[in-house]
Structure formats: C-alpha cells, structure tokens
C-alpha cells in the first residue's frame, strides 16, 4: 500500500511537469524566463564583433599613417599620425572591456594598453634594434602607451621629427608596435568570426561557466579595475594617499586622458543598455534583463538607478578640467569628488545587479547563509 502511494506521488510529480511541457511555452505575465541566447546574440553580433571589426580597420589606418610618417617625417605627417593615433586609441576604449574568449587567450588588453609606458625600455629597444615584442617583459614598451611616448615624449615637435628622421631603428619600432596591435586584434576578430561567436551564444545556461555569467564578471572587473582604478583611482592617489599624475592614460600627450575615460564610460553604459556598436539601436541587455526581473520583484527600478548614476558620473567627470591639471591641486579635491561618483556605480553593478540576476562571483559550495 505504502509503495503504491509513493509510486503515485512520483507519477503525479512527473505528470505535473510533463503536462506543462506539452502546453508549450507558457506566457503568464509573471514569467521571467529571460531569453539569454537573445542577450548573447545581441552582445556578440551587434556590439562585440562590430567593435573588433571597426578597431582592426582603424588600426590599419594607423599603420598607413605610420608608413607615411616614416617615409617622410614632417610636421604634416606627424599631425596626421597623431590624429589617427587618437582616433584608434578612442576606438580601443570601446572594445577594451570585452576581455573574454579569444581576447582573454591572447591577453589583448595586457598587450595593447598597459600604462605607464616604460620609457627606458622603449629607448633601449630602439637603440639595440633587437627585441621581441611578444615577451611579457615588453608589455610596457608597446601598444598605445608606447606610441604616446614616441609621438608626444618631447616638448618640441621638431625634436620628435628629428628623432625619426634617418633613424631606421625608431621607424622600425613604430611599425613593429602597430603590426603587433594589428596582429593581436585581427587574431581576436577572426577567432570570434570563425568559432567563438557560436560557442559563446550556445553557452546560454546559467552557471559560473555560462557566457552571460562570465561576461558579467569580466564586465564588472573591467569597470572596477581598468576604468575606475586605472584611469582615475590610481592617478588620483585613491589607493596610495598621494596623486600619481604620471600614471594617467596618455601621459605624454597630457590632454586626452579625460576624453579616453569618458569614451570608456560610454562604452560601459552602452554595453549595459545593449546599444549596438553601429547605429545605436537597442537590443537585449543587462538593462532589459533587470527590467524583466523587476516586473516580478516589484521593487526599486534598478535599471534606472544604474543609468542615472552613469549619467551623474559622466557629468561630474565632464565638469573637470584636464586630468593633468586637476591632479596638480593638493589634494585634488575636484578630481576625487568626480571619482567618488564613478565609484558609486561599483556596488550598484557588483552587488545589486549581480544579486538580482543571481550571478555568482566565485565558486564554492554554499548553503545560502
């Protein structure tokens, strides 16, 4: 008798599940089965891959500018080169946050934008004429920061032009840096197009190794480490007590750190909102995911809170002067106040957003307490 009852319960339980299966996709208003594959497709097809495509094209333009400059070093070719460098560097801020999959494998960010540049190492490399840019010891001697030093490292443009005139080593170094950038980013772009896009989209589950969870972790890591700390916190002396103005991004140029930060902030907010790389159409995103969850939660509209704080942070940084100038103040109060607004976003995405989506940051057993 007991066995019969037990069997009945099991059968009923199975029936309850399978009968719902047959009913097909349920569309009750409270259903928050957010479609993660649509989210991953939007990220891959509309944001990440067009981003890499654009960056590789930009980098190729930069290579042409370097070739032209090397052929005839002059004020005119230097100006063109500097402008192209700035455009490419700005484009880089749009893709720097996607350090996942192939980019993670090749260490794209580590190889392209580690600053401050090691100026001694760069000079030694050029003087020697022999170096291996793929060595990790050369990471601070290449990429955009090295170009920053080479193109802006002297007070007078004439000195810079003179350095490259009839100096094959220096010219070669410029070429090698851009070749390195192009090779790495092309490799990442191709890998996305050939294999990784499908792997990425297919891994649409929910676990620490699922694409969405990984991406969110990487996204937060980028915001906290590279945007917040790297571009503002460390130069501002937040972690050391004294400002380190030599640690701003594009230090030798000296005037564009703020612009690069703001571009990075835009990229982060656009990613949050699922804004397409080309054109600005919005697709499934962290923001729409939060909206879907909020309809059930009936709580605070977290999506709005986060977007508002992005906007507040942006306007506080926009109100600043050049980073280099701000950091001359002791203490750099205005700079630090703007940093505080950038900082406020961290708990919002790292605690509130992640908690709402039930995405875990580290893996081990838990019993929820």
């Amino acid at each position: 008798m007991k066995k019969i009852v037990a069997l009945l319960v099991i059968v009923l339980a199975i029936y309850a599940c399978s009968s719902d299966d047959n009913a097909g996709g349920s569309d009750t208003p409270n259903n928050v089965m957010f479609d993660r594959s649509a989210l991953l497709e939007n990220w891959a097809d509309n944001i990440i891959m067009p981003g890499y495509e654009d960056f590789v094209n930009q980098a190729t333009t930069l290579e042409e500018a370097i070739d032209t400059f090397n052929a005839t070093p002059s004020q005119a070719t230097l100006d063109v080169l500097r402008n192209t460098w700035l455009t490419t560097y700005t484009t880089w801020q749009r893709i720097s946050l996607f350090e996942i999959g192939p980019a993670e494998t090749v260490g794209l960010r580590l190889n392209i934008n580690i600053y401050p540049a090691d100026t001694d190492q760069i000079t030694t490399n050029i003087d020697n004429g022999t170096y291996d840019l793929s060595l990790s010891s050369n990471r601070t001697a290449k990429g955009f920061p090295a170009l920053d030093f080479l193109l802006f490292g002297e007070d007078s443009d004439a000195t810079i032009i003179a350095q490259f005139t009839a100096n094959p080593n220096a010219q070669q170094y410029l070429s090698d840096i851009i070749t390195d950038i192009i090779n790495l980013s092309t490799q990442v772009r191709d890998e996305w197009q050939d294999n990784f896009r499908d792997t990425f989209v297919a891994n649409d589950g929910s676990s620490v190794t699922a694409s969405a969870d990984r991406m969110v972790n990487d996204y937060i890591f980028y915001y906290e480490r590279f945007l917040r700390a790297g571009k503002m916190g460390i130069p501002g002396g937040v972690f050391s007590g004294t400002p380190n103005p030599q640690n701003i991004e594009a230090f030798h140029n000296g005037t564009i750190s703020k612009q690069l930060f703001l571009e990075g902030l835009d990229a982060v907010q656009d990613f949050f909102n699922g804004v397409a790389y080309n054109g600005g159409a919005q697709g499934e995103s962290l923001s729409s995911y939060l909206d879907a969850l909020n309809t059930v939660k009936d709580g605070v509209d977290l999506n709005t809170v986060i977007n508002n704080q992005f906007n507040t942070a942006r306007s506080s940084v926009q109100a600043l002067g050049l980073f280099a100038t701000e950091l001359e103040a002791a203490p750099p109060t205005n700079f630090l106040n703007a940093y505080d607004q950038v900082q406020v976003i961290v708990p919002l995405i790292k605690v509130d957003m992640v908690s709402a989506m039930s995405i875990s940051i580290d893996f081990s057993d838990a019993d929820g307490d």
Partner: protein
C-alpha cells in the same frame, strides 16, 4: 526518576545505528576526497595569507602544507568509522580533525559542516560499532542490542535541525515575498524538466511554502509509522531537488541517509545482510533473536549528563538572537549555529579607508591584496569579519611604518532584493572597536522590517 531509569534500560536492535555509522563514515570519506580533488584544501586553507577566526578560537592555525596531513587523518578516521575499527578512537579523531578544519577559517562556515561536527560529537557517546563492525567481529560477540536512547538521540538531533530550519522560514521575506527563491529560482532556467517553471511566480511561492512546511513537519511524518515511507520519498525528492538547484555539495545526501534512522530495524537488517553477504561477515554475529542480558543496569552517568547538556545547548542556541537589537538577517548577531539555511540573498561591497589620524592622509585598500575572492565576498556583508579584517589592516599598515592608523569601512549591502544601503557607520574607526558577544553599535540599522521569527 524510575521512568528515566526504565528508559535508559530499554534496549533496541543495533542495526539502525550500525547502518547509520556505515553511511555516515562513507559520506564523510567521499566529502573529504571531493574537497581534496577540487583543490579546495590549498585554495581555502593554505593559500590565504590571513584567516578569519571564530571568537575564542584565534589560536587555531593552519599547518601550511601539512594541512593535507590533517585532512588525511580526518579521511582515515572516517574510513575507520565506516568499518567500525577501533571505533571510539576513530570517531574522536574524526570529530577533532573535522572540527579543527572548520575552525581554521570562518569564511567557509556552512551550517552543514557545523551539523557534521556536532553529530560526530554525539556519535562519540553512542555504541555505533557494537554491531556489524570490525570491532564486533574481533570480539566475536553477537551484540545486537543497544540502549534505545542512542538511536533516539540521533532522531532528536535531526528533529532539531529540521524544525529550527522550518521555524527560521516563518518570516515575511520567505512567506510573503517568496524571497530569496524569487531571485534564485529564475536563474536556474536551464535545469531539465522543471527549468521553465522556475521563473513563474506561483512556482516560487510554492517552493517557499512547501519548503517551510517540509522542514517543520518532516520529522513528525518520519516518526509516525503510517506516513514513514511516504515521508522518506519526500525526503529524497526534496533533497535531490535542492542538490539540483543549489550548489550545496554533499549535504543533501547526508540528510537522505540520516533519515533512514527513522525506519525500524527490519529495513536496516536487510541492508546489513546484503553488505554482510558481499563481505563474508559471519552470520552468527548478526543474530539478534537472543536478548542480551545487560550485566549491570544502565544508570544515569557522565555520558548522559554530557548528552543532556549538549541537547539543551542545541535547543537554546538558535534563540540567542533575541538578546540582540536590530534585524537578525542584517546584523547576523546570533545567525550562525541556528539552522538558518537558504534564507538570504545577501551580498555586499566593502571598501576600507586607511587614515593617518594625525596628518589626515588617507587612502583606500585593494582588498584583493589581502583576501581571496571568497574571503572578500563573505567578509563584505558580515560585521564580525569586517571588524577582524579592519584590525588585520591596522596591524599590516603599522608594521609598514604607518602611524596613528585609523580604519574606516564603507560598505554597501543588499538583502533579499532590496536596493543596497549603507551597512557600517563610515565615521567609526574600527580599530577602536573590540570583538565581543555584545551588540555591534557601529552597524547601520536596517532600513526595512522583516516580520516573523
């Protein structure tokens, strides 16, 4: 008094306790092997520069690379318990090594580790290797009867765990908001068969209410013979579901196996006979038809006093939170050791500001310089860990030559779907605060209210 004396002298068959011992030992052995194979010994106990200590157990240290020896001893003890070889020594050794491991770092505290610690403590006093064990075989004595209280004490411990876990769910977040399941379940959409249901509100409420009812009543259903088999089916379904839905390791299996103790000896003898056959265990040692006459009547002794005190503590400890002001889920004062399981989606973000209190020079700490990701995550919403870390930071920076060091914590915590709010008073220098059982006045009071137990 006579009733107690009679009860102490009531004997019962030893098979259920023997089966319990075998499964308990086996699962512990598997747990340790699993823990080892994941590389967690290194990751949680050897790598960290710093361990969070339980109050009063600051003296417990890891042994560096020799921590593996500690785990190996624990595993060997579990194996000896399983086969019932030198049982007394084995179970004492298991209790000490396992508990020691748990005391090394508070970060990894889980209710089910605590459960294993106290269960193995209780097992020290129970004659679990009288029957179907290497010990019994070496004595060559068919000792098929044991005092009834020894099996009842395990049932009582299970009852405490379940009922307190159920009582803890009787709060407004769990029952009225279906929190935190409303957050956790929808993210499990990719689970076969039921995944698509988990995003629906009714399912979240059903899981919450059924879960609470299950915890509250399952021991009674297991106790009452007519409902026992059905109850056991429910135990299996419930714990398998929790295993599928949440990363809770070995705990579900332990609870499933533990629930077997409620069945009468017939079932257990069937299990033992199956094992015995495979192991060529002498049949005459398994006979229980002849009643063993006890040589001297069982009197109340030290053993019984210890067990009685043990249970009084178990029953009282979960209520200690009533002595503290403020919301328990927020302050966590009196939260541990109380079977409050799966009740909170709580996470935090903590920044520590080091201030030279004379010059006013200040800077923030990069927590990843000092803590592992798991430590940082656990620290960021538990006040006692925050305080301990603050003191650690003071010592670290003083050793580096900083002077007049003040440590201030800026912490944001989100609890059960509420927007994150300030958790610690950012104007309090934590180096001036001492750890104690007193209420921590520097916790910012909870903004909302959670009604219930």
């Amino acid at each position: 008094m006579t009733r107690i004396a009679t009860y102490l002298n009531t004997a019962t068959e030893a098979a259920p306790l023997a089966v319990f011992r075998v499964f308990f030992g086996l699962l512990m052995l598997v747990s340790i092997i699993r823990f080892w194979s994941y590389g967690w010994i290194d990751k949680f106990y050897i790598q960290p520069d710093f361990h969070f200590k339980f109050y009063g157990f600051q003296w417990v240290q890891d042994f560096g690379v020799y921590t593996y020896v500690l785990f190996a001893t624990c595993a060997l003890s579990a194996f000896a318990v399983t086969i019932g070889y030198k049982y007394k020594v084995a179970i004492i050794s298991f209790f000490i090594t396992f508990t020691y491991i748990e005391l090394i770092d508070k970060t990894t505290y889980l209710n089910h580790y605590y459960f294993i610690s106290i269960l193995s403590f209780l097992l020290i006093f129970l004659p679990a290797a009288n029957y179907f064990s290497v010990d019994a075989r070496q004595n060559n004595k068919a000792n098929g009867h044991i005092p009834k209280w020894s099996i009842d004490s395990i049932k009582l411990l299970l009852a405490i765990v379940y009922i307190y876990a159920g009582l803890a769910k009787l709060n407004s977040d769990w029952l009225i908001e279906a929190m935190p399941l409303k957050i956790w379940l929808p993210s499990k959409f990719d689970i076969p068969f039921i995944g698509h249901l988990l995003g629906q509100e009714w399912a979240q409420y059903a899981f919450s209410w059924i879960g609470a009812a299950y915890d509250l009543f399952i021991t009674f259903l297991l106790f009452y013979k007519p409902t026992r088999s059905l109850a056991f089916v429910m135990v299996v379904i419930f714990h398998v579901l929790t295993r599928v839905l949440f990363p809770i390791g070995m705990f579900p299996y332990i609870m499933i196996v533990s629930a077997l103790i409620f069945f009468d000896a017939r079932v257990h003898k069937k299990i033992i006979n199956a094992f015995a056959k495979a192991l060529h265990y002498p049949k005459n040692l398994l006979k229980t038809t002849e009643r063993i006459v006890q040589e001297s009547p069982n009197r109340w002794g030290l053993k019984h006093t210890i067990i009685a005190i043990f249970f009084v503590i178990q029953i009282v400890l979960p209520w200690r939170y009533l002595l503290y002001p403020g919301e328990l889920f927020w302050t966590e004062e009196g939260y541990r050791f109380s079977w409050r399981v799966m009740l909170m989606e709580k996470s935090g973000y903590a920044q520590f500001k080091i201030v030279d209190k004379v010059t006013g020079r200040r800077f923030y700490v990069d927590n990843s310089d000092f803590l592992t990701p798991l430590q940082e995550k656990q620290m960021s919403f538990q006040p006692d860990l925050i305080l301990e870390y603050a003191h650690y930071l003071r010592k670290h920076f003083e050793a580096q030559g900083h002077q007049n060091v003040g440590v201030y914590a800026e912490v944001q915590v989100a609890l059960n779907g509420r927007l994150s709010t300030q958790f610690i008073n950012p104007n309090v220098d934590l180096t001036q605060e001492k750890e104690s059982f007193k209420h921590k006045t520097w916790i910012t009071p909870f903004k909302d209210e959670i009604k219930g137990i």
